[in-house]
Symmetry: C2
Subunit: 155 residues, 2 copies
DNA sequence: CTGCTATCGTTCCAATTTGAACGAGTTTAA
DNA sequence: TTAAACTCGTTCAAATTGGAACGATAGCAG
């Protein structure tokens, strides 16, 4: 267990202990690992991760989602979303529709074709998440992991 | 607690329970959160996350690292690394050197200037990781989280 | 109503990323 | 030794991304 100190300017920063460092690396590692696997799997469906995330979000909101709200939810800029929404629209997977109460806003929603594709992809995705994530964690520990990570994810 | 089943082709995939889903979202959320914060902080040093990762890796290996090995470790393609190594080289932060035993290989390593920059960035990075990750987890749970995520990250 | 400010989604451009193809050097096995 | 297969890092073109600027609309305060 190391407790190195690093003097920089007026600040003293306690270095991460071995366990803390290991936890940090594990988090990054787990994220990378999962992302790599998901990315590769999605290739079978000609989808990028961003595109899949868009479809998945839309899948749980039949009434559609505005571009800005969607961009905030996913980790993408608005312009990036505009681009990807265009890609998906060209493939007939999503559609833009105007909004009654706000003339600036655009609601993005799944087309039937988009729904169909999502219905095919989702099971494979769930299976992968199980194999790589859920099944590797002792069920007794899952709640602890969930709560801990939720703390990190939360505000 | 939901236990939906989805029939797709010949496969039956058990849907994720609420807790499993929450754990999955928490993992993604935590990763995104951390990445966003780190990216923003690194902007103060004119570094992208990839560039910082390169410097950090090189920091722990004074003898240098080959491009392919480095690309594998980080989650980047070889061509992406070639580009970023070029950027860092232009700024005098890293240097390429030939390798004795293999004429194809190139060893990337930190210059003194690169070491100096890393020494300035690292404490701030550690501080951020503490605030956003370590300090948000009950110390008693840290080992559980570490082990669980290590299982996910591992082969 | 009338500015003033905030938000919407898009466009444009520059930076980055990827994947395929490549020349060069290395390793393997006959 | 030699041919085939593999690995090295780079180059190139195409796809994607982020950020600033923009026109248009909403919301708010006076």
């Amino acid at each position: 267990m190391s407790f190195k100190f690093e003097q920089i300017g007026a600040h003293v920063v306690r270095a991460l202990s071995d366990e803390e460092l290991a936890a940090y690396f594990a988090l990054r590692g787990a994220g990378d690992r999962l992302q790599r696997a998901v990315t590769q799997q999605l290739r079978d469906y000609d989808l990028t991760e961003v595109q899949f995330s868009i479809l998945a979000q839309l899948g749980s909101r039949a009434d559609g989602i505005g571009m800005s709200e969607l961009a905030r939810g996913l980790v993408v800029t608005k312009s990036g979303l505009t681009y990807q929404a265009g890609q998906l629209e060209n493939r007939g997977l999503v559609a833009r529709r105007a909004r009654k109460d706000d003339d600036r806003a655009v609601l993005l929603r799944l087309t039937p074709k988009g729904k169909a594709l999502l219905a095919r992809v989702l099971p494979a995705h769930v299976k992968l998440v199980r194999e790589l994530f859920i099944d590797r964690i002792d069920p007794a520990d899952l709640a602890v992991v969930r709560d801990a990570l939720a703390q990190v994810a939360g505000d």
